[in-house]
Symmetry: C2
Subunit: 354 residues, 2 copies
């Protein structure tokens, strides 16, 4: 290994860097006929394949000065594993395309890659190729392949009237964490005084629900990962599922799973605080699974929850409807208005493209 | 279709854009079980698969103000098809991840996508997924899948002592084109007075050598596409091929294929001009094929050249050697020194990471 001290990525060059990554990747897994080091990777494939890709960009998805590179590398792979999980897939291979600023320290790049490879080992994913280039801002584009754990993967399009709506984990933590990080940058919040670290961890290092996705594959009628927020992602399920018979969703506000740290930060009932409620309903990047299943599957799902040691909460119901809409109900089943609900088909005039 | 005039991408939002792209993609090709619109794409796969990805970044790979968006969309796919071609593969599927600046005009994004889909249709490639996000600079990350045209793809590692070295097309045009474009930006060159448009086309809209790659699949011992320049890419072949018996390459300068426009721009013999020679030997992005083959294949290769109506030139020879090096020889077989040749193993201390 080259001694790091003060070395920059440009000192070893693109090919030096590729060889460095290559030397860290375990080679020779069966199924890989040619990996890093050729124009294309070449893999054996049988049956069917799941494929997903995600782009993470500095200042849009992460703040480079605050996000530790190891955790950024972990996250870059995790968010893609989350997409494979949402199809009930077993992840297998990954490609990494990275645009590095010219003055990137070799140590920074190494740590980023170390984080990536940590998650790869945890989930038995092998790095088979990619691209490295210069870029003004750091950007990471990861492609992940997997195979369906069962005969068919779970699509967004299978939600049926009568289905329960479920979510794993808790909601809103990642987006609250990101808000707090931005506040720490402007000096509004001192992170060293901050005790709700689970909120930050959820943003820095989300845990893809791969095991849960595999277990739920035989039970879930439809599934998606929560990357854009509950209302938006539930909207995708309604749109995809409603092509023959239009379906709507009723969501019970008092059943939404909210973490202890989230509650403590808002000191009381987050549902009474407009900002808190917005984070829970529309905050992105939780990377939890949102799925629908028949009511007869309830006990099985709660059994999975215990086995996985992961909360899985029943938060609503799919119904026949005139249009693909999400209706919020309070603990007395009264309709609750929320500014984000006025959009049909979930366009994002008021949102940034993310 | 929404009326374009003055619309920006943020007016229709991420999901509006995804639905817009989706509506332009021909659906229902056999082999695609689930395409755009789910967490992952789901494809049937049999045998083996080739996979490659490339990242194109504003100001590094292209100048956004000058590169017409339709041609940029074409190029983004073409450079990946070139990688599949270099393995003797038949391209099949693509994923597109794009980071768009917030104020991107819808018309710009549409034209970019139109160019991409044009090349996709030309090469029967189907778009199956991707990602769209905000970004300060435009960036495009494309992943392409294909299947080997023959039983085995052609790897970089198969070059043998005695092999001829061949290249398709001409060398240096794309990098000269890029230089001229940069000159036009600083006012050194007025493009409206410029007559050597093939040089610009080669940078703006390279033609991936897919057909040639497929034809050569049974004959080439090793193959690579020229993305980093002749010396660097030949270096990759030597490194990968030399793991058991070290091989070196002799390149005949007077046999290097140089276009009419390139010669005219340099008014005379480009090999006498140091800058011209550097472009021919080390200029990147030609996206031509560089391959080695047995001497007994010469007539077959020239027959392919006629069939494809594409020059294929024999430019050198692979030999046993003490180290993986490229030796340049002039028309009298004398060794020629070139500053880029002093690097062993082709590190890029003096190059930018690209």
């Amino acid at each position: 290994m080259i001694e790091h001290k003060n070395l920059k990525l440009r000192d070893i060059g693109e090919f030096g860097w590729i060889n460095r990554v290559r030397s860290r990747v375990l080679q020779g897994r069966s199924g890989i006929l040619a990996g890093i080091g050729d124009d294309s990777a070449w893999i054996k494939s049988q049956g069917s394949l799941l494929i997903t890709c995600d782009l993470l960009i500095e200042n849009v998805h992460f703040l480079k000065d605050i996000h530790p590179p190891r955790l950024l590398g972990r996250k870059a792979l995790s968010v893609n594993l989350s997409d494979i999980a949402a199809m009930s897939g077993i992840p297998q291979y990954a490609l990494v395309a990275i645009g590095f600023p010219q003055d990137t320290e070799l140590e920074y790049a190494d740590e980023l890659m170390e984080g990536f490879l940590e998650v790869a080992v945890e989930h038995k994913v092998e790095l088979i190729g990619g691209d490295t280039t210069a870029s003004e801002k750091l950007c990471l584009s990861i492609t992940v392949f997997g195979k369906p754990a069962h005969k068919k993967p779970v699509l967004r399009s299978g939600a049926k009237p009568g289905d329960d709506i479920w979510v794993t984990g808790t909601l809103g933590d990642a987006s609250l964490g990101f808000e707090l990080l931005k506040k720490s940058q402007t000096g509004e919040l001192d992170l060293s005084d901050f005790h709700h670290s689970s909120l930050l961890v959820k943003h820095f290092d989300p845990d893809p629900r791969v095991e849960a996705g595999i277990m739920l594959g035989k039970i879930a009628n439809s599934m998606i990962d929560l990357s854009d927020g509950l209302i938006s992602d539930l909207g995708h399920i309604l749109e995809e599922s409603g092509k023959k018979t239009t379906v709507k969703a009723e969501v019970y506000l008092d059943k939404l799973p909210i973490s202890k740290d989230f509650k403590e930060y808002f000191k009381g009932n987050p549902l009474d605080d407009e900002n808190a409620l917005s984070l829970v309903l529309t905050g992105g990047e939780d990377y939890e699974l949102l799925f629908t299943a028949k009511q007869s599957s309830r006990s099985k799902i709660l059994e999975f929850s215990r086995k996985l040691d992961l909360p899985i909460s029943r938060v609503g119901r799919i119904k026949k409807g005139k249009k693909a809409e999400v209706i919020l109900r309070d603990e007395k089943a009264r309709k609750v208005k929320h500014p984000r609900l006025k959009f049909e088909h979930f366009p994002s005039q008021e949102r940034q493209i993310t």
